[in-house]
Subunit: 284 residues, 2 copies
Amino acid sequence: MRIHPECYPCFLRQTYSTLKLLTKDEELQETLLKEIMGKLAQYKGEDPPPKVSLVVYGTIAQRLGVTDPYKEKKLKCNRMALELYPHLKKMVKRAPDSLFMAVKVAIVGNIIDFGVGRAFKLESGEALEKLDLVVSHYARFRQDLERARKILYIGDNAGEIVFDRILIEEMRGKEVIFAVRSVPIINDVTLEDAKEAGIDQVARVIESGSRVPGTLLKESTPEFKDLFFNADMVISKGQGNFETLDDAHRAIYFLLRAKCDVVAQLLGVEVGSTLLIKGGTIPG
Amino acid sequence: MRIHPECYPCFLRQTYSTLKLLTKDEELQETLLKEIMGKLAQYKGEDPPPKVSLVVYGTIAQRLGVTDPYKEKKLKCNRMALELYPHLKKMVKRAPDSLFMAVKVAIVGNIIDFGVGRAFKLESGEALEKLDLVVSHYARFRQDLERARKILYIGDNAGEIVFDRILIEEMRGKEVIFAVRSVPIINDVTLEDAKEAGIDQVARVIESGSRVPGTLLKESTPEFKDLFFNADMVISKGQGNFETLDDAHRAIYFLLRAKCDVVAQLLGVEVGSTLLIKGGTIPG
């Protein structure tokens, strides 16, 4: 998908959130916001939204010398998620359909922000019980998974990655390749997060080549592209991957929550809806 | 108060909301958003936030030829509020302290957006029962009101103005001057709204000279400035007037809901809090 006009206020909101994390100096915040606004005013809007992060976080890195503003937050998210891991494993084991429960766990990982209150809710199982997939291609997902040998799983955020591990652990006997970003960008997963979450124990972890919070095929590594087009199944987590892969020429299972109006409208759902949807331009 | 860095994403969000109302053409929306972003990137940020509306709505008016994008919405708000008027009058009449209830009515007018659901809630009295003034200088307000002869009441939004009328009707025997903006700006009150709401039957209505959703003393008419500094009491409705008058050199009673983080932090309250607060730099 390409940038929608509504994305611009959102880019600026995200810029401010990051600046606030990095400096208390309001004059500096304002100077940087304006520098980024000036660049966005000139931006050719044909790209998918995640590509704009190169402008936003690139400028911040250049001016403040911070290339990984969410490093601490990510570490905290991974640790909190790991604490929940044994409990979630039990829930999946006990469920009548363990694979379906593991899918729900993986999507919940995309929803929660690992604030204390929410984490507790999750512990009580409430979030999982209430989770309703507004669109669910689960039957097809299960069928395709049974037949698949090689699966490419494209990761999304720190914390969430522990929940992805639970889904991958339900794919016994399959060759799973887990793709992470090649550089730190917002709270997206990198090699470091994959190790912290123990993904490397259940899948082969590769870098996709991505420097944005999504997956731009044009900028992916040859290894990633080869896997993307030749794996039996591709699973894409989160909105950023959806925004960059929705028009890719192969079938993809998208697991995501529609977090903004623009994506929700594109998918024909309400904001906040959770989906397991078979997409891509050749759904096969 | 001066513009805070956090205001910029908000300016852009407001810009988009208005553009969406005026055109379905996304290319045009994007072009105008970028033109306004470019101007904001160059903006000298020493002004109170409402002054930025000259850039936002000025550009929109210039490019789309629409000087009053909220005209219809305002008319609808006034009509809906007028339908509630008899019910609210009864509530005020029955209350143990009618003035206090009228103050609450006037503040509720600043909260509701006149969507159907909310209006019904109001009809049942629920919104008024639950309304809690986080900061209340009501005792002083009542005392000052008793002594005052000439009162300047600075209006805020359409719809809300009907609720202001109810408060003004509790100021029996006082000379009340009601100030409106001199041009249409967002959903702020103009002479037309004052007539629709019947304010002209209970107060003398004047234009403040303001072309922004607030009150910039430097740009006010001599008549307004004279009244502002010489009235026995000044009542200021809403956040826009607060943002522009909070450091004015006289005592002012601000009735408002803190609608954003920046103003809430300045006032030391949570976002969404409602206040009746005696402010101004010489609270006297």
